[in-house]
Amino acid sequence: MVVATCILAMSVVRQRLHDFMRMIQPDEKWDCTFFTRKEILRLHGRYHELAPHLVPMDYTNDPDCKLPLALIVNMPELKENPFRNRIVESFSEDGMGNLSFNEFVDMFSVLSEMAPRELKAIYAFKIYDFNVDNYLCKEDLEKTLNKLTKEELTPEEVELVCEKTIEEADLDGDNKLSYADFENMISRAPDFLR
């Protein structure tokens, strides 16, 4: 689950580097995320690039700016991801997908390769939990599956796969996956980390 942390462009950051660093406080974010200072600055560059007219370079006066879901989802890192909306939504505070820069950094921090498995499992669960009820029920699984396969499976096949999945992973037998079930299953997956 490594979204390529950043692919392009450092150009914005170069201007007024020093003042700017103090303003977005990369050191503070260091403690909260898995990024180094350089990476955080680069991320801010990307964030700024998304909407230059919305995002200020000056963080003293107006720290509450948020980018809407539609803008973030169009980043090249997320554009091809079938779960992009869910990812952004589960990291936003209001659940609607509006991200402040803090949350933006948080998102990439969790998705980056440095984040530990447990943390990723927690957020993966959130991402797959389409109706936010803390359980992965059949509808969630169906949605997941349809996104994964671009709805190329027949309804019967989808049904079968979902049933099988629940049957495999459901330990307490309540016909839906709680976080414990999910964690148990995902912790043994050979290629979950990537």
Partner: protein, 904 residues
């Protein structure tokens, strides 16, 4: 700096708040106890089912109690006065309350949902801050220290918390403030200067670490390139480049060792070129020694240079540093191998830890569902391929599930598989024989003299080896279609076969080389004899002139010399590497680039679509490339002892291929159709590398140990065996007692028990790991049976509930009939509708939390709705849900969560 004032202001506000809080604290406590008692009454009613949970909670709460005895001492006393019957319930309530505190303070990985709000935090912080720094008894101080440490831990563990960012930042700021404030207080005391100093140092150390980390991330080479490839082609192609980078790092270190400890000292401090025979080009070759053709073949001046074994002098210590050249040469040779072993094994162990246990097939569908997407993909084409491959994998899995191994004609498959393996074996044997034949032929050519032959005849061995390495894998690919394996299995087979091919080729090559070594050694004997004759004659001639003439000085170029098989081996390896590199690059250019260009531009004037149809663009062949890299490395390890320049060459090659392949991948390859993920096979490659390392050190060690070094070239000339250097050093450079100790330590009486001990330790470790594995399997079995039991139980419960429901319905309908009868008897005017309405109202008042059942159902059985409702409520508390008819599934979790919300 701009943040500071803000912070300070915040701190002030907080302090004011604290004071207020302190005043109202007592009142608060009273209120809390009240709330608690209310809670107990609430919880007591339905507590039976949760007893088991409670017992778990008790253990935890006890722990926490010891931690926070002081704060909650008063509350606890009150509770103790209460009678024992209520106690468990009380503790439960306390537990509920304390969970809030625990969440903030505890840094261990307790997993919390995001439900808890940040207000809990605030409350907690305020309470924490009521500890005044002015009134410090040592006990309190200790506690404060603990609290500070806890905060520090919290700061460290913060990044691993699944909290929203805002909360993280708030917590971080608060904790930092706390730490700063109280750390200062702790440091003010008389005897605590040391503590303050320590704190300061740790701060500086942290800062340094951060800067260092920054520096490190800035120094990782090719990061952006690899990320770009990653997003275009998925993680498996990127994993090749990461592997390449890793190899590059290792080779850099090997290069540093050989260059710094062997080549540079010899070049700087050793005798200069032309001073002794082994360091001069012989007279016969002098004319052509600077020709490019000869140099390209690593003859001439290249052969008599620091690049090869033969150039090094056997002088024990060189230069003003008294550098022990032969010893250094030997130790570097051993060191490179040892270092490589260490690195490979360490990486393997780390990978094994990461990958965990993922072999069993019990979560087939779940894994496919949740982990099949490659989150690195950022390219539409790759994404499309990935979607397609996921779909097909699901379809395959479904088919497998449905047919459940309906094996069609297993005999045919078996026969085909055997046939395929037979064919592959034939290929391997054929290629082995071909190489052996070619090497033999080349020896004949060499005896004849190379000048009489064509270019092809001179380079036959390398070319044949490269061509075999190119075409045999294709053949294997064709053969493997016979076998009808699953693609992943097929890939492994393919890899194994190519591995066997390369290995076989390499070993035939080595065996042929051994033959050549033996030939050279016989030649050496003759030459040695001739030289003694020559020297004698020289001596005689000088003697006969009776020392009147000046002593004859012979130019070192004229001195006859032995063939020096070590240099020959080194040359062979260098040539092999060069030709291998060349073929790799040329196939890259022709097979990828030219093909891409042709397909791209001929497409305008061709009868079918070249891009989508037959030739199309090439894919990046991860496994083949990784294998090539591994074998290349094997050759380096094998030859590095006889040609110290090999690591340098390899570094160069890897550097170039990094750029070249990055470019080629981005410019002329298309994403793979079957997009594999990387992590599964990572250790597979590492295991291959380990095997190659072992197999390549084997012949090197064999030659070092068994064959005596040449008499007139190389650092070990004049010794019986190469490892005599160690002995010599021990005798002459170390004090006598040391060599004595060493000889004692190396006598079999001590070595054998030591080996025995090691074997026993290995046996012990292996058996323990086996037993762990067994225990693991046992546990898994238990879990499964429990799972099944649970399911059965639930089914039974659901059935029972259904039966009850039916009964209740029947009873209710009977009652309703009776009622209806009664009603019709008593009042004939009242409608059924009113009756219905009252029922509904009743229902609403009865169950406040439950959502009302579907209206349709109510209309069908108007009076029946009352009966099942309390039943479901109980049911929910038991923790065994079954879907009751008439209730939507969505309502289930909400009912579930009612108790859990209370607990928070």
């Amino acid at each position: 700096m701009q943040v500071r004032p803000e912070k300070r202001e915040r701190g002030k506000r907080r302090r004011a708040k604290n004071d207020q809080e302190a005043k109202g604290r007592e009142r608060d406590e009273e209120e809390q106890t009240k709330i608690k008692s209310a809670k107990t009454t609430k919880t007591r009613k339905k507590e039976k089912s949760r007893k088991t949970e409670e017992e778990e909670g008790e253990g935890e709460s006890e722990e926490r109690n010891t931690k926070r005895k002081k704060k909650h001492g008063s509350a606890k006393k009150e509770e103790k006065e209460e009678d024992g019957g209520k106690r468990t319930v009380k503790e439960k309530a306390q537990d509920v309350k304390k969970k809030k505190h625990k969440k903030v303070v505890e840094t261990s990985s307790e997993q919390e949902t995001s439900e808890e709000s940040s207000e809990d935090n605030e409350e907690e912080d305020n309470e924490e801050k009521e500890v005044r720094p002015e009134s410090l008894s040592p006990e309190e101080l200790e506690k404060l220290k603990e609290a500070v440490d806890e905060r520090k831990k919290l700061i460290q563990g913060l990044r691993g918390k699944p909290w929203p960012m805002k909360k993280k930042l708030v917590t971080l700021r608060e904790s930092q403030e706390f730490v700063e404030k109280y750390e200062g207080a702790l440091g003010k005391g008389k005897g605590r200067k040391l503590y303050a100093y320590k704190v300061m140092m740790t701060k500086k150390w942290m800062k340094f670490q951060r800067d260092f980390e920054n520096f490190k991330t800035a120094c990782i080479p090719w990061e952006m390139k690899i990320k770009e490839i990653e997003s275009h082609f998925g993680s498996s192609v990127a994993s090749y480049f990461i592997f390449l980078r890793w190899m590059y790092g290792i080779n850099m270190i090997l290069f540093g060792l050989t260059f710094g400890l062997v080549m540079v000292p010899e070049a700087l401090m050793g005798r200069p070129y032309g001073s002794i025979p082994r360091k001069t080009v012989p007279r016969a070759e002098e004319a052509s020694a600077m020709d490019f053709a000869v140099l390209w073949d690593w003859g001439g001046y290249a052969q008599y240079s620091v690049l090869f074994y033969g150039y090094y002098n056997s002088q024990r210590a060189i230069g003003w540093l008294k550098f022990r050249m032969p010893l250094s040469y030997f130790l570097v040779g051993v060191g490179t191998v040892a270092y490589s072993y260490m690195v490979v094994i360490r990486t393997m162990a780390r990978n094994a830890n990461e990958s965990g246990v993922g072999d069993d097939n019990s979560f087939n569908f779940s894994w496919k569902m949740f982990t099949s997407w490659d989150y690195l993909i950022g390219n539409p084409e790759t994404a499309d391929n990935k979607f397609a491959s996921i779909t097909t994998s699901f379809k395959e899995a479904i088919l497998e599930e449905q047919e459940s191994r309906k094996d069609d004609n297993i005999h045919l498959t078996r026969f085909l598989r055997v046939l395929a393996n037979f064919l592959v074996l034939c290929c391997l044997a054929g290629s082995g024989y071909l190489i052996y034949f070619v090497v033999r032929r080349s020896q004949k050519f060499a005896l004849d003299g190379l000048e009489n032959h064509t270019w092809w005849e001179r380079n036959e061995v390398n070319m044949v080896m490269s061509l075999l390495g190119m075409f045999c894998p294709m053949l294997f690919d064709v053969i493997s279609t016979l076998e009808n394996y699953h693609p992943r299995v097929a890939l492994q087979w393919q890899l194994g076969r190519i591995f066997a091919l390369f290995l076989g080729n390499l070993y035939t090559f080595i065996i042929a080389l051994m033959d050549e070594i033996n030939l050279k050694r016989e030649e050496e004997k003759i030459i040695k004899f001739n030289i003694t004759m020559w020297e004698a004659s020289l001596y005689n001639s000088t003697v006969s002139e009776n020392s009147t003439a000046p002593p004859v000085t012979i130019h070192p170029a004229d001195v006859p010399r032995g063939p020096c098989w070590e240099t020959m081996v080194g040359q062979e390896f260098v040539r092999l590497i060069i030709s291998d590199t060349m073929t790799t690059y040329i196939t890259l250019l022709i097979g990828d680039f030219l093909r891409a260009v042709l397909v791209r531009f001929l497409n305008y004037c061709w009868c079918w679509d070249l891009e989508a149809g037959f030739p199309s663009y090439s894919e990046f062949d991860v496994s083949g490339n990784v294998l090539g890299l591994i074998f290349n490395q094997g050759m380096i390890w094998m030859g590095a002892f006889y040609a110290p320049c090999l690591p340098a060459l390899n570094v160069l090659r890897l550097h170039v291929s990094m750029y070249l392949q990055c470019w080629a991948v981005m410019c002329c390859n298309v994403p793979q159709e079957r997009v594999f993920k990387a992590s599964g096979s990572n250790n597979f490659y590492m295991a291959m590398l380990l095997v190659i390392l072992f197999l390549s050190t084997l012949p090197a060690i064999y030659t070092i140990v068994t064959i005596p070094p040449s008499f007139d070239c190389g650092p070990f000339s004049g010794k019986k065996r190469m490892f005599d250097v160690i002995h010599e050093t021990l005798e002459s450079d170390f004090p006598a007692w040391f060599s004595k100790v060493f000889s004692y330590a190396s006598n079999p009486g001590l070595v054998l028990p030591f080996i025995l001990l090691m074997v026993l330790a290995i046996y012990y470790l292996q058996s323990t790991s086996k037993s762990y594995k067994e225990a693991n399997v046992e546990l898994k079995k238990k879990l499964q049976t429990q799972n099944e039991e649970n399911k059965k139980k639930n089914k039974r419960a659901a059935l029972k509930a259904q039966m009850d429901l039916e009964e209740a319905r029947k009873a209710a309908s009977q009652a309703a009939e009776q009622q209806n009868n009664n009603a019709s008897l008593q009042e004939e005017e009242t409608d059924g509708e009113e009756n219905h309405g009252s029922n509904q109202r009743l229902h609403h008042s009865k169950n406040g939390r439950n959502p009302p059942p579907a209206a349709g159902e109510q209309e069908c059985h108007p009076p029946a709705t009352r009966a099942p409702v309390p039943r479901t409520y109980h049911h929910g508390n038991h923790g065994a849900p079954g879907y009751l008819p008439g209730f939507s599934r969505q309502s289930e979790p909400r009912m579930y969560r009612v108790p859990s919300l209370q607990r928070h």
